[in-house]
Amino acid sequence: MTCLPARTDKKLGLVIDLDTCVGCQACVTACKEWNTGGHMAPLTDIDPYGGHVDGVWFNRVHAYEHTTELGGRTVNFPRSCLHCEQPACVTVCPTGASYKRASDGIVLVDEDKCIGCKLCSWACPYGAREFDTDVGVMKKCTLCIDRIYNDNLAEEDRVPACVAACPTSARHFGDLGDPASAISQLVEERGGVALMPELGYKPTNRYLPPRAHSNRAAKVDAPALEPIRAEGGFLGWIDRMLSN
């Protein structure tokens, strides 16, 4: 059913720290590795070793140069499904293949109902949905529903693959609907923002802005270098002769 739930019990989502993301692409490959065998499998690759590589990915990391009066900086920017509260990708779906879960707010696609009309990808402003030309259906991030509820995994591993892989802990997972949760506290503390709020999709995921430039780094004046003196004596003569 493509009508949206009036409310969801939880609002599971991601918080991405743009201050600490180093753009290493570990989340990208971890996502691909898990999900190509997961709920939405396969994540087809077309011509993977050829000149026109194409394929389905749920997570893509861009890099931007953000320049303000205070200076410029490089910002690595992971982009994936934001599991919106008002996901037009769901309501435009003519078949009921797209749905938002009332229990945890995760937006999913039922691959067996999808006719591959691609309208949901037009309706998503964030480019979160990618069409699998090989299977003929739309695919998207599942927030690793096959990890986060997976009793076969150790409890600390029950997080999305991208979160588990991040070497700088720039990715956080949790319930953004609960103001007391660690992830909500983090958003509160760091002033996390929603993307394109003006479009009214009410994304669940938040991005933590890069911290302000600081002058905290120690300033140590290094002693000036001394000029190189030509080595005298016999060894100096040998050195000069051999260097010629």
């Binding site: 194409d54 890099a63 303000t68 920017f77 779906c93 309706a123």
Partner: protein, 312 residues
């Protein structure tokens, strides 16, 4: 947006088909044009043929066309589903109207009711098509007050010019029909010019700043996540050079509006066989021009995903 030919042809053909269907339903049902078997057969075959061809073409856009039947289920939320339901539902009164008007040679009474319902179904279907595009917030050129009226006006325009051509062929043309077709063409021209003017001056609040959440200054894309074009860029990153777009706009104006308007104007003074030929030529030119117009409708539409890739 990538102008997929299946969708360009689909919206153009069904627009003309439903326009003609509504015209025949109203004029035939209420006896404004006489119930003539061959006129009815040709007119209804043309209208329903365009609709069926368009609907079949639209399934060519699907990844899994064999599941297309599922698209009738989500009419509560989806304009695409509503379009599917409305388009198929319209076949019921259209079928009854065809039996009454074409095969039984009747008008008025239940045939008029069927004709009226056919016209209503056609208008509803065109509205749902327009709303599919008008409801998409990420595409500012579509999410505007110009989109829905455009679909209705262009449907009425192409349907009327086609209807006039059919009537002229059967020597049943009238000054009223001719005037209506000419006025509809001029209205379509005006609406398209106003739409282009609006889109060219559009100031979109969504920027690379709001897309990334980075406040102030400039946000410049320095590295894409991938080296080759992916689905997002192929489907939504379509780019058209400004000079090409300017040329195609001129071709649209010449074929879809100027040529049909001139040809229809000459029909007022031309003797009957020449008038019929000019009417048919006007319809053909207009349909060709509307294919270019619809191609541009997609090609000039810019999706917000472009902001993430630093595309202008």
């Amino acid at each position: 947006m990538h102008p997929a030919f299946s969708v360009v042809f689909f919206t153009t053909a069904t627009g003309a088909g439903y326009g003609l269907l509504a015209l025949l339903g109203l004029l035939g049902g209420f006896g404004v044009i006489p119930a003539d078997f061959w006129l009815g057969l040709v007119g209804m075959a043309l209208a329903l043929g365009l609709i069926v061809a368009g609907l079949l073409s639209s399934t060519g856009h699907l990844g899994r066309p064999e599941r297309a039947w599922r698209a009738f289920s989500q009419w509560r939320s989806s304009w695409l589903s509503r379009e599917g339901v409305a388009s198929v539902a319209t076949f019921i009164p259209a079928g009854l109207f065809s039996i009454g008007w074409v095969f039984l040679g009747r008008s008025g009474g239940w045939v008029a009711v069927a004709g009226l319902l056919t016209a209503a179904g056609a208008v509803v279907t065109i509205c749902t098509t327009g709303m599919i595009y008008a409801s998409l917030k990420p595409i500012a050129q579509w999410h505007s007050r110009y989109t829905l009226p455009a679909y209705l006006i262009f449907s009425a325009m192409t349907g009327s010019v086609l209807g006039n051509a059919v009537l002229q062929e059967f020597k049943l043309g009238s000054t009223a029909m001719l005037t209506w077709a000419l006025l509809a063409t001029l209205a379509g021209w005006g609406w398209k010019l106003a739409t282009w003017r609006y889109n060219d001056r559009l100031e979109i609040p969504t920027t690379a700043n709001t897309a990334t959440g980075l406040v102030g200054g400039t946000v410049r894309s320095i590295e894409w996540p991938h080296t080759e074009e992916n689905y997002l860029l192929k489907e939504m990153g379509f780019r058209i050079a400004r000079k090409h777009s300017a040329k195609l706009r001129q071709i649209t104006q010449a074929l879809a509006f100027a040529a049909p308007a001139v040809l229809l104007a000459t029909v007022f003074v031309l003797p009957s066989p020449l008038g019929a030929i000019a009417s048919v030529l006007a319809a053909i030119a207009q349909l060709a021009g509307m294919l270019v117009e619809r191609w541009l409708f997609f090609a000039e539409a810019k999706h917000t995903i472009r902001l993430y890739y630093g595309l202008e």
